[in-house]
Symmetry: C2
Subunit: 453 residues, 2 copies
């Protein structure tokens, strides 16, 4: 098998980025005329112990994928040449476009188990084929936004920056994590293309290698400050953190004479709270009370909570691996399930994996103070009290409205997090939120069970 790297360019933009079984199923669907409308919903089956809520994210990339979904000439030629499929099937794939309807909660919405992250209603081959990539996009961004929200809640008022591209799982993971964490309350990312691609603010200073490459730490600090006077944040832990702070204090007046202000220092090793206290004292002793302290290195939401509780004088945090890999929960238990075909509701009954059938709606009731009180999961069309979360997004393969700006999604998410019931806004596991299954949905499930052999 020769390597033919030219067949696929941006892997994320390829309709070929799917599981082979989607194509084998499609062949059979076409051959047996099974092209009526199928309704699939994507949802999380069960929340992990360390997540008491989810933050929906990735809808914009999912919609872009559906809008642009087609096989390229090169991909079709490869499929034909592989001899895996009959020629007429490959010809039908060439014509395939997404012409269906999509419903979803807005990005940034707080969600719980069983509540749809997206609903796709389209001719069966279309709705089936897009499964893999839709999950691939929505699962990951929801995973990261949900993790980032915990961090934002654990460190209110502190500036959180995503440092995680290097240990993210590939290029797209790094980029999407920058976007999803910004939605959930991060201030920005170090990942450069996240700004041109998504509009996420980018931040960056220096690495240890910069310090080491110079003959002395002082020279490194000064060279950097003179090259980048607009944002002087100096990394002070390469050799000895407190000695580094002293050097910054010595350098600051010299730079100030040339109109350059030291904005901050960064700590990246050792007991960060302890070093931050000592460094704060050193800087304040020289009157450098405006120099902020930024910390990074193995930080997760539990560490953030501890820093805040302990009153560590740290103004901002760079958070890498734990964020972009969602290291404590690397994946959510989720599924994209057929809920209806040709007008008939459907349900999977596999052991431990049974699902609720039909097109669903979620109604959310809130208290007078705006806090969420409880959700009702029901079938579309069943009227319930509260706000309906699942809203139309695409019709006949076209968007119904221009996408909201990322900043607007971020503001909406902040409002959502502010509405969380108080116990859910803490990191401790075990905080439950009532999601009730409406009678209408239970009745439908019972009806489907009676009808399905």
């Amino acid at each position: 098998m020769a390597q033919q790297t030219s067949v696929v360019g941006d892997p994320g933009a390829s309709l070929l980025l799917t599981d082979l079984y989607q194509l084998t199923m499609l062949q059979s669907y076409f051959e047996h005329g099974m092209t009526e409308v199928a309704v699939f919903e994507f949802f999380v089956r069960k929340l992990p112990e360390r997540r008491s809520f989810l933050v929906a994210a990735g809808l914009e990339q999912a919609v872009e994928f559906l809008e642009q979904a087609r096989f390229t000439e090169t991909e079709l030629a490869w499929l034909a040449k592989s001899k895996r499929f009959p020629r007429d099937f490959v010809d039908r794939l060439a014509e395939l476009r997404f012409t269906g309807n999509v419903h979803a909660p807005p990005e940034g919405t707080v969600l719980f188990a069983d509540e749809p992250v997206i609903r796709v209603a389209a001719p069966l081959p279309q709705a089936q084929l897009v499964e893999t990539r839709l999950i691939n996009i929505l699962h990951f961004q929801t995973l990261i936004a949900s993790k980032a929200a915990r961090m934002a809640l654990a460190a209110p008022g502190r500036r959180l920056i995503d440092f995680g591209l290097r240990r993210a799982h590939g290029a797209e993971a790094g980029l999407m994590a920058a976007r999803a964490s910004y939605i959930a309350g991060f201030a920005g990312t170090a990942t450069v293309p996240a700004e041109p691609r998504y509009g996420v603010p980018i931040y960056g200073t220096m690495a240890h290698s910069f310090i080491q490459a110079h003959d002395s730490e002082e020279e490194a600090f000064e060279n950097f400050a003179r090259s980048r006077p607009q944002s002087v944040i100096l990394l002070i832990d390469t050799y000895d953190t407190e000695a580094g702070a002293e050097k910054v204090a010595q350098l600051a007046p010299k730079l100030a004479a040339d109109g350059i202000t030291v904005a901050g220092v960064r700590l990246d090793s050792g007991d960060l709270a302890d070093h931050a206290r000592k460094v704060r004292k050193i800087l304040d002793g020289y009157g450098l009370t405006d120099v902020s302290i930024f910390a990074s290195g193995g930080i997760d939401e539990d560490a953030l909570q501890e820093f805040v509780r302990a009153g560590a004088p740290i103004d901002g945090f760079g958070i890498g691996t734990s964020l972009t890999t969602s290291s404590d929960v690397a994946a959510l238990d989720c599924a994209y399930k057929l809920q209806e075909y040709a007008g008939r509701p459907k349900r999977k009954r596999s052991e431990g994996k049974a699902t609720w059938p039909g097109r669903k709606q979620v109604f959310r009731r809130c208290a007078a103070d705006g806090r969420m009180e409880g959700d009702v999961l029901t079938v579309e069309g069943d009227a319930q009290d509260g706000e309906a979360l699942i809203r139309p997004v695409m019709k006949d393969g076209k968007r119904l409205a221009p996408p909201p700006s990322l900043d607007r999604i971020r503001e909406y998410c902040a409002a959502e997090l502010a509405r969380l019931p108080e116990p859910l806004s803490h990191l401790a596991p075990g905080a439950a939120y009532p999601v009730t299954v409406a009678d209408a949905l239970r009745d439908l499930a019972a009806q489907v069970d009676r009808e399905t052999r």
Copy 2:
């Protein structure tokens, strides 16, 4: 900040896919004439408890990235427009190419903590800029190959297929995981573009939605078999696993009359070992002893080991989330560190993060039966017994040899796994392997400490 999705196409091919601090450091390096040769090494600092060895992977993509590294016109225009950097710096970025030397162990090599996965020697700005993406590629593929190797060792002789694209962290993670797991012993993947892109064999059958969309399970089975007679593997757990096996047994003679053979059945829920035994009995009772049983659903290496120990009659496994997210260890503690600049060895001494300086070599000694006995980590040029693992890969920005085929890398990796000391070939944590630091390296570290303030 308007969204400008056109600035970046395939994110993985972009030299802009880096941390902002790489660019700010580069500006200072250029302005201060710091363009002498820097040597960086990428290595894992400490193995996680559940990994007693690593499998190096991703070198081919790393080399491709270095060979093709350049900023596109669009990226440069965006950088200039962002006003973050002076014009002459952007002009220098336009000329930037990778002209350095690369050393590395071959892909598929078994490695341990502190042993270089790659060494880059290039003018400082080049070697610095590529850090983020090199780690992004090499960390992830090494993470996945190391996880997949545990699965291959836990289930010798069973066919393992990667099913994990949907829950992989983005598009590239899914593709790279297919490649890395194939190197470590998987038989293939469900991810279609992994074949044209990397030459990984692809496999696929049907999903529950296929069964549900039909009026009956029997109809679904027969439709599929007639459309895809070359590979009839039927998913039998949508409603009732053993009833599904009975339906397969009833259908098989009818298909056989038309020359179609049922190759296998797949189970995806419940107690897989128990269902497999019952299904095997049902199939054998009808004389269908050649129909293989394939299982999937939440399987990891511990589950594989249990199936094998219990003698479950399962011929192959589809493995998803636990593989492509390396769910128990979502990231490795790794670093790309400056080891030498302008001919002078360098060392970071941050608390708990001190590194060995200089250009390193690893020598591996093996017993008479070929099993690995121990490694020596030393400086390049220091002669030690055993095989030298770190070999030249690129010189002056060019590859020294065409890349080995993926199948050859896979064979090499199989030979590596066969050479593991017996305790390391089991899943149990705690198996140690001796990596000795040579006197020559200790002396160099002491010398650097004396010279660095």
